[in-house]
């Protein structure tokens, strides 16, 4: 009665054994691990995971089933899912079906019974790397597939998950105006949140030109989260440059990275990214620490806008791992948030223009809602700009 054997092989040749969750065949992608203990469905349907094989470090997955309300997009975007134990049975008053059925229905190659801790340690030590997972596929075929799979650097994935044509989300209650959301792979909860604050949201494709954005007379522009490397998104970068200073702008995750490119900073790939719901982020103006939901593999390097080099870290993260402020073609820019695990930039703001961004997910889903006030700040920025 045991499930079919399945294998995962990494690009550097490590093999992991497990059992198939249902859908057969083979999939490749960059392996990343996510340390969230709840929220597998939101992770599964988050477009930011396009092109990735997600390793869940929490051992039991599928416990409370799936429900339409938790979807972050219309379908799963990751290419494969790896876990220690797929629940046989879902139990929750909210559940509309089992995760196993959901994965089979969406044809996601998923492997259970894997020593996910070994795999996680491997990724941690060697960095995120391509892997191949397969059911009924030989180990050597998987190895070939893994070594042949493309990495994330330079991967233009947002274009694949972005909406092909604009669509609208109606404001909850009386409309306070229109927010144009540039969709790089936007999660449903973000739209829900903006609409919940009273904005009509026009979700537009990733390469929507400045002109067409401004023609809609938006009160604000939002740049969403999304998968892959920000570098190839030159059209989005150009559009953002065009709107900066004209309309308040708020970016999340990949949105922060393209905002960073727009102001002239460069981005870099983190060794194994941030994927989880427990990252401490310090708000630099008052020192308060937010526990945040994160999902990104790249980050903005503000030192690239200075002549200085990033200082070496000793002991706990300190404020001076980030520049105090940097000069950009849009005026001075300051870091507003910092990751306390590795010191990387988590949020920034232009001082002269209404534009800010964070690297993490204030909409949570999944994860803690400590940062949800950021939406209110956007709301505030919009009303001040009028």
């Amino acid at each position: 009665m045991r499930d079919q054997p399945a294998l995962l092989v990494t690009a550097d040749g490590e093999t992991f054994r497990g059992r198939s969750v249902g859908h057969g065949g083979m999939a490749t992608g960059e392996a990343v691990f996510n340390t969230s203990m709840t929220g597998y469905q939101e992770i599964l349907t988050d477009p930011s995971y396009a092109g990735q094989v997600v390793v869940m470090t929490a051992p039991h997955i599928g416990n409370y089933g799936v429900t339409g309300f938790d979807d972050q997009s219309s379908r799963p975007h990751l290419t494969g899912m790896v876990m220690r134990s797929m629940s046989r049975r879902a139990s929750s008053w909210r559940s509309e079906g089992s995760l196993r059925d959901f994965l089979v229905e969406h044809e996601i190659v998923s492997v259970s019974e894997v020593d996910t801790r070994r795999l996680t340690r491997h990724i941690r030590d060697k960095g995120a790397m391509p892997v191949a997972v397969g059911v009924d596929v030989s180990e050597s075929d998987l190895r070939d597939a893994a070594t042949g799979a493309p990495g994330m650097v330079g991967a233009d994935l947002a274009s694949k998950v972005s909406t092909s044509s604009p669509y609208r989300i109606e404001a909850k209650g009386l409309s306070k105006g229109l927010v144009v959301a540039i969709d790089l792979g936007m999660k449903i909860d973000i739209g829900r949140r903006l609409a919940g604050m009273g904005y009509d949201v026009e979700v537009v494709p990733y390469r929507e030109p400045t002109q067409q954005i401004l023609e809609r007379n938006p009160v604000g522009v939002f740049v969403s989260n999304g998968p892959g490397d920000p570098e190839p998104l030159s059209d989005t970068v150009a559009s953002i440059r065009g709107v900066l200073g004209k309309v308040p702008l708020f970016g999340i995750c990949l949105g922060q990275q393209v905002f960073g490119l727009a102001v002239g900073a460069s981005t870099f790939k983190l060794p194994f990214g941030h994927h989880g719901g427990n990252h401490p982020v310090q708000r630099l103006n008052d020192g308060v620490v937010e526990i945040t939901a994160q999902n990104h593999g790249f980050a903005v390097d503000l030192w690239s806008l200075t002549d200085d080099r990033r200082p070496e870290r000793t002991g706990l993260v300190t404020r001076d791992l980030l520049p105090q402020s940097v000069e950009t073609r849009f005026g001075p820019l300051v870091p507003t948030h910092q990751n306390l695990n590795d010191g990387t930039l988590e949020g920034m703001r232009l001082l002269d223009l209404p534009a800010f961004s964070v690297q993490y997910h204030p909409e949570a889903a999944p994860g803690p809602g400590d940062a949800s006030y950021l939406f209110e700040e956007f709301d505030q920025m919009i009303s001040e700009a009028r």
């Binding site: 203990m37 039991h60 938790d70 070994r118 941690r124 401490p280 310090q282 993260v317 999944p366």
Partner: protein, 1079 residues
């Protein structure tokens, strides 16, 4: 600079004796706090009456007061020590209550002491159920609908607002008596009426019943910057209605979706903010309706709690240590996460494993008590297990309990379950008891649907299904026990013992086959971060995976085996010894490896030893740790019976046992061989024999005479031990033992000794290195032999022991240690009758009194023992300085007193006997016996009257001695009343005692007088045998009205002596450091 500089000295209050609901988790928390505060340069003043704690070791504080934790005494300590701040959130309810009282009395203000952690207002808001509810509502959080009623009509009014089912809880009732669940008005009227009647203040809480809902707990930490993190989420397997302390619990939460979990998280933080806990850890409990997700706040504890200890061990996040730092002004982001060494404590641990905690009960010791679990906690300990999955963790936790189960059934206990009919089984599943988990396993084995089991038990179907998965794996293994099935079974947590049972093999054979097939246990780390960052602390658990994370060591290793879950007879004292061994051996250059499964303890702190294995203490699990670590030797002497029972098996597997050999241990346990040694050494023992049947027992009694002390061999804490006065009682006893399926007891012969009446019992703890004997201490018991040494008070130095007897005892100790070839600790119990010294038993191991003696003398006995076990001589340790000059005479008297759990078992009779019932102990130190004993009584919660009326009722055989008691109380100015027989006897001897009717004999019987508050002290000695009912009623009535009750003559004499000491001396505290300096 993070820490506050306006505070220099801090008073830390401990939690006092181990009682049900407040166990050694507060030693863990107090120890962590004291350690870290001192390391930051604060002066720490500590008060705790419990000598068995690590925190009261003099090196953990600048001034250590082993004194009663009462407002009066603590006020004195404040006056002497002038602390700047008071930290009360780490010492359980005891510390919180005393701190509240001190604040209310204005003591803190008077001495300018600031309460840090949680302030008075926050504590009161959290503790007062009415204010709590109001605060929650203000914050927009929902609590169960409820109201207090003082009459039936009020009760009915409230009930109509709430709707059925309703839970009724009488106010100020100990042990949850009178609590009930009403499904309709008829039931309600009956339960409410009873509740109003039993409550001493005629008040009941009428509350919306949430029985059957899901119960959750979140552990929250908050700092002065208002940063808040959830350290751990805990889900109760048992539904609402079973106290969380008595529930099987699981971390992290398994059956909440992210949205539900995050809302609960936000609520928990909102609760902390609303209550106003400024800094530190708190625990917030929730109930969730499984049908709708409706979520209610049940309660919050504004302090570190039992769950915090569990949460710390479950995550590796040291809550108590960090709470202490936050209290002195650090913020979470300023504190390093020790485990990664590189990231801050301002994060929420991510777990890549599952933790299961299972309570351990000792209902066998309280046969009158109902085993049905309810809203009042009655478990005495707990085991925690870590597995990669819930099934694995559950099975590990079940075998960690040491109650004869090797996991979820599939062991010898199953026979019992199989005999239950389907109908009975269904009925059993509907009632929460300690055995329900096994019954559920049996139902699943019978192929009952998961939904049916879930419906009957109200255990969430996800958990039931995971249990069903265990059963499925079992069935597959039985069908075809091949390699794949073996691997699968091990991954589902099956022990080799279970697999052996399933196929009828020997456990050794399963193990051999398993290892030959390469199915080896791997070890993973508990690292707070699911492997995201490298862990620098080797805190390990065993599982069956690809990769093991054990690293080679560069120093020789020693494994210390801990003592498993607390139980009556094996508690914190043994953990104390294990911790000391780890510390001493680390200092001596060893790499120490601790194995234990008790989350409450200091031994399971990741920094107590160099390596920690959170594993069950079974032969299989321990052998695998040994295989992974390759230690030089294993210490089994210090963890009580648990590791001792493994000694033989380990030695047989080729493991080196440190110190005294397993053969010697077995020799001491073997009555006949031990008797032979005593005869050779010319030592007296009570006449004795062993029997395996009634006929044999009768033969033995013919020779040794009556009364006789009977017991099964190989038990600790006097389990099933009894004094029999007649042949009939003896026969009954033998039937009871062999008709009982208790696995700890069965198969062992019954030991029969002549019972030595009115003998003084003496305990000796010593270390022997094969040449020199180091006597730790000689303790004289207050109660006579026949009351278990664990339940009896004892005094050191011995006040009445003659010089001859003392010499004889020391000679016997030395000779026995030598004959048993002891290398390490030995504990011997003697009975002294006149000038005759009898050896009762010798235990070549650490004993319950080691910490007490160490506190009384300042000699680190367990550390010395650990070093001796590893080959050092006592002389060598003296040269090293571990042992100071040991010939100092003490100038003070130390008394240890036992604390008994009667309030949790109101049905039980509170008499003392050879079967141990105490859960904890306290220590009193004074210049004379009276003061020291008085302090010990006070520390144990006995508030003695200094005037008023004493009620006397003596058994016939006690009457002569009782005379002295009566005289003593007359001298102290008390008025006497007595049962008719006792009164007559006293008046014969010219002592006036007003006769009073026995319970039920008249309108003004003793029951009524107790109720009317006319009696301030009860002295009632049991008649022995079965005819105890009347005495029992009196003792229970006294307990019900919280009137102190003494049940032995020596106890009563000691009380009289302590009363002479007077309150002045009792409330004069002195620190341990001062006492030790004065010697």
């Amino acid at each position: 600079m993070p820490g506050r500089t306006d505070i220099r000295s801090i008073l830390v209050i401990g939690s006092g004796p181990i009682i049900i609901g407040q166990a050694c988790e507060f030693d863990y928390s107090g120890t962590q706090a004291s350690k870290v505060l001192r390391s930051k340069g604060y002066r720490v003043i500590l008060v705790n009456s419990n000598p068995a704690t690590i925190m009261t070791d003099p090196e953990y504080a600048d001034a250590t007061y082993i004194e009663p934790i009462t407002p009066e005494v603590v006020e004195e300590i404040i006056a002497r020590e002038r602390p700047d701040a008071l930290l009360a959130t780490l010492g359980g309810q005891t510390a919180l209550n005393v701190a509240t009282e001190l604040a209310k009395r204005g003591v803190l203000e008077r001495h300018s002491v600031e309460m840090i952690g949680a302030g008075l207002d926050a504590i009161e808001k959290a503790e007062d159920r009415g204010r709590f509810k109001a605060t929650m509502e203000e914050a927009g959080l929902e609590c169960p609908r409820a109201g207090y009623a003082r009459s039936m009509s009020e009760a009915l009014n409230i009930s109509r607002d709430i709707g059925y089912p309703i839970m009724v809880r009488p106010s100020y009732i100990l042990g949850g008596g009178g609590t009930g669940l009403a499904k309709d008005e008829t039931e309600f009227i009956e339960i409410a009426k009873n509740g109003l009647a039993v409550s001493p203040v005629s008040e009941i809480l009428v509350e919306e019943s949430l029985a059957g809902w899901k119960e959750f707990e979140l552990e929250v930490m908050r700092d002065r910057n208002d940063n808040a993190v959830i350290v751990c989420s805990i889900e109760n397997l048992d539904p609402m209605g079973v106290h969380t302390g008595d529930s099987i619990t699981v971390a992290p939460v398994q059956t909440l979706s992210d949205r539900e979990y995050q809302e609960m998280r936000d609520d928990a933080i909102a609760v902390l903010r609303a209550i106003g806990v400024e800094t530190g850890g708190s625990n917030v409990q929730f109930a969730v309706d499984p049908e709708t997700g409706r979520r209610l706040v049940i309660e919050m504890n504004p302090r570190v709690s039992r769950s915090s200890a569990l949460a710390s061990k479950a995550t590796g996040f040291p809550i108590a240590k960090i709470a202490a730092l936050l209290a002195v002004g650090y913020t979470l982001d300023e504190v390093v996460n020790d485990i990664t060494g590189a990231t801050p404590a301002s994060f929420e641990p991510a777990l890549d494993y599952v933790v299961v905690k299972i309570p351990r009960f000792d209902f066998e010791k309280f046969p009158s008590a109902s085993k049905e679990l309810g809203t009042s906690m009655r478990s005495v300990g707990e085991a925690m297990a870590i597995g990669r999955t819930f099934p694995e963790a559950l099975q590990k936790a079940l075998r960690s309990l040491e109650i004869g189960h090797s996991g979820l059934n599939a062991d010898a206990t199953e026979e019992h379950l199989r005999a239950i009919s389907d109908g009975e089984l269904a009925a059993m599943l509907a009632i929460a008891t300690p055995n329900r988990i096994f019954q559920a396993g049996e139902a699943l084995r019978r192929n009952w649907a998961v939904d049916r089991v879930a419906e009957l038990t109200h255990i969430d179907p996800w958990f039931v299904d995971q249990m069903a998965a265990i059963i499925d794996v079992r069935c597959e293994y039985v069908e075809q026990p091949d390699h794949d099935a073996l691997v699968e079974a091990k991954r589902y947590g099956f022990s080799d013992a279970q697999l052996a049972f399933l196929t009828g093999e020997a456990e050794d054979d399963v193990r051999a086959r398993r290892l030959s097939e390469g199915v080896k246990r791997t070890y993973k780390r508990v690292d707070t971060c699911a492997a995201e960052f490298e862990a620098v602390t080797p805190y390990m658990y065993g599982t069956f995976e690809d990769e093991t994370e054990v690293e080679p060591a560069d120093r020789p290793r020693v494994v210390v085996l801990g003592s498993g879950p607390n139980r009556i007879g094996q508690g914190i004292e043994f953990d104390y010894c294990c911790v000391h061994a780890a510390l001493a051996l680390r200092d001596a250059g060893y790499e120490t490896v601790m194995v234990n499964c008790n989350p409450e303890t200091v031994s399971t702190d990741y920094d107590t030893s160099d390596r920690l294995y959170f594993e069950p203490l079974t032969a299989e699990d321990v052998l695998d740790v040994i295989a992974a670590e390759q230690p030089e030797a294993v210490i089994v002497q210090l963890g009580g019976q648990t590791p001792l029972n493994l000694a033989g098996l380990l030695a047989a597997a080729g493991v080196t046992i440190a110190g005294t050999s397993p053969e010697s241990i077995a020799l001491a346990e073997d009555r006949e061989k031990f008797g032979e040694i005593c005869r050779q050494l010319g030592l007296r023992q009570p006449a004795a024999g062993t029997a395996r049947s009634t006929a044999e027992a009768l033969d033995v009694v013919d020779q040794v005479g009556l009364p006789a002390m009977v017991r099964p061999s190989f038990v600790l804490g006097g389990r099933k031990m009894r004094v029999v006065y007649s042949v009939e009682e003896l026969g009954e006893y033998v039937r009871e033992i062999y008709g009982d399926a208790d696995p700890e007891v069965i198969g062992a012969p019954i030991l029969i000794d002549r019972f030595l009446e009115s003998a003084v019992e003496i305990d000796v703890d010593a270390v022997y290195d094969g040449n020199e004997l180091l006597v730790g201490g000689v303790m004289e018991h207050v109660e006579e032999a026949g009351v278990h040494s664990g339940d009896s008070a004892c005094v050191t130095p011995p006040p009445t022991l003659s010089e001859e007897a003392r010499k004889e005892i020391l000679r016997a100790t030395r000779d026995l240690a030598d004959a048993l070839e002891v290398q390490g600790l030995i504990n011997i119990q003697f009975a002294v009758k006149g000038d005759e010294v009898f050896v009762l038993e010798a235990n070549p191991r650490g004993s319950r009194t080691v910490p007490f003696i160490s506190k009384a003398t300042g000699v680190p006995l367990a550390q010395v023992a650990a070093r001796v076990m590893m080959g050092s001589s006592i002389e060598q340790l003296r040269r090293e300085g571990l042992l100071k000059d040991d010939s100092r005479p003490t100038t003070f008297v130390a008394v240890k007193n036992a604390v008994l759990p009667w309030d949790r078992f109101p049905e039980e009779d509170s008499v003392l006997g050879p079967e141990m019932k105490a859960t904890g102990e306290v220590m009193g130190i004074g210049e004379d016996v009276g003061t020291a004993y008085a302090k010990a009584l006070l520390a144990g919660g006995k508030i003695l009257p200094d005037r008023g009326r004493v009620f006397l009722s003596f058994a016939d055989r006690d009457k002569a001695m009782g005379l002295a008691v009566a005289q003593a109380f007359v001298m102290l100015g008390f008025e006497l009343i007595a049962t008719p027989g006792t009164s007559r006897y006293l008046s014969h001897h010219a002592i006036e005692a007003e006769p009073v009717e026995k319970v039920g004999d008249g309108p003004n019987d003793i029951g009524t007088r107790l109720e009317n508050g006319e009696v301030q002290l009860v002295i009632n000695t049991p008649r022995g045998g079965k005819a105890r009912t009347d005495g029992k009623t009196i003792r229970q009535a006294a307990r019900g009205h919280q009137i102190p009750c003494v049940t032995t003559i020596p106890g009563a004499l000691a009380v009289a002596r302590s009363l002479r000491a007077g309150p002045g001396a009792i409330n004069r505290p002195r620190s341990l450091q001062e006492w030790h300096r004065s010697t």
